[in-house]
């Protein structure tokens, strides 16, 4: 697909991702601020965007992973020779296939098949976009986490935990205290020359790309009083790693993650934080995270 009619680059978390297609490509709103100028540089990752969904190629593969809950399937992953095949389901229509994708064994080249709707395809339609981001982090020294991150002008603090523990609440409190919110849902952490940086990723709404040096990670929960405990060693690694986005069907993926978090926990402070949702917690964090 060397001479495609449509080609452009996205810059996400300092990765260059090139999309190529013979059909017109539409991006969801959240991706638009991440479009970067075409340049001669070789992209880190390519996504070949194709039409006409065909699942026949998956029939010879082994089902290795299913993201689903009691109500619906989100996506399935198949091992097909040395490649991984992804079947992504429409979240509005049960069992209707929205897209299929193939990731080559180098983890750098994707083929994504989508249906043409109103003369265009949407190759990074949710949830395939975040799935691709996750597999980009698996190829490199990086992770994607369910987390919020706040930048105080010098460093970023990352807050993570289960849904409902207060990631958005603490983001709002940090923002009220003058911090810039990198994002309050999905964050990429990258190790670059032994420093750790947090990045936002495209969401359903438009937000400019952001990057900040990571200083500390807080595993948060609501509490009757503000309390904090510094973690280290195996406890720190296991608790932080539990909140990264995981497709743990492959031993090598897990080994990569353990290596990443082992190094991260030596460089970045890890805390458990129980907090009362008011502005006092911002001062409390600053007092203890020195």
């Amino acid at each position: 697909m060397q001479n495609c009619r449509y080609s452009f680059n996205l810059g996400i978390a300092d990765y260059t991702i090139r999309l190529l297609s013979d059909s017109e490509i539409k991006l969801e709103e959240g991706y638009l601020p991440f479009v970067i100028p075409e340049s001669i540089q070789v992209p880190d990752f390519t996504i070949e965007c194709l039409t006409e969904i065909n699942t026949a190629q998956f029939e010879a593969g082994d089902l290795v992973f299913e993201a689903k809950n009691d109500k619906q399937r989100f996506y399935s992953i198949y091992s097909i020779g040395s490649e991984l095949g992804f079947v992504v389901y429409n979240q509005q229509k049960e069992d209707e296939i929205q897209q299929v994708a193939l990731l080559d064994r180098t983890f750098t080249h994707w083929k994504v098949w989508s249906e043409i709707i109103e003369n265009a395809i949407i190759p990074l339609k949710y949830p395939l976009g975040p799935i691709i981001m996750h597999y980009i982090t698996l190829k490199t020294s990086a992770v994607m986490m369910h987390a919020s991150a706040a930048f105080d002008g010098n460093n970023a603090r990352l807050f993570t935990g289960f849904s409902g523990v207060g990631k958005s609440t603490i983001s709002r409190l940090m923002a009220d205290a003058g911090n810039q919110i990198i994002n309050d849902d999905r964050i990429i952490i990258r190790n670059i020359d032994s420093s750790y940086f947090v990045y936002n990723t495209p969401m359903y709404y438009a937000d400019k790309p952001k990057k900040a040096l990571l200083k500390s990670v807080f595993l948060i929960s609501h509490s009757p009083e503000n309390k904090i405990k510094k973690l280290s060693g195996a406890t720190a690694i296991s608790k932080v790693m539990a909140f990264c986005i995981q497709n743990n069907f492959d031993k090598q993926f897990i080994q990569n993650r353990l290596t990443f978090f082992g190094e991260l926990c030596k460089t970045v402070s890890i805390f458990e934080l129980g907090f009362v949702p008011n502005e006092q917690v911002v001062h409390f964090i600053k007092e203890h995270d020195v």
């Binding site: 689903k68 989100f74 195996a234 080994q255 353990l258």
Partner: protein, 93 residues
């Protein structure tokens, strides 16, 4: 669960030693979320590393009392609790 079963289940985990503790991550074919992964302290790590498919729980108790400053009853409780934890972890994954 017996120690033989534990040996069989080892292939369903990835283990990493950190500061004399062992982190266990279960392989899984779904998106089950865990509040934390499993970390083994010194005695649990000993059981994990020394269990064989022919070893009985009393034999492991003997090995533990020879190695650590604990009696057989304490060792036995540690072994049973550990095996139960492993079973529970796999149920969640």
């Amino acid at each position: 669960m017996q120690l033989k079963k534990l040996v069989e289940l080892k292939s369903r985990f990835v283990a990493r030693e950190v500061d004399n503790e062992l982190i266990l991550v279960p392989l899984t074919n779904n998106v089950a979320q865990m509040s934390e992964l499993f970390t083994l302290n010194e005695t649990a790590k000993f059981i994990w590393e020394n269990a064989t498919d022919t070893m009985t729980i009393p034999e492991m108790e003997d090995l533990m009392t020879d190695t650590f400053n604990i009696d057989a009853a304490t060792a036995g409780k540690d072994i049973i609790a550990f095996l139960k934890n492993i079973e529970n972890l796999l149920k969640k994954s």
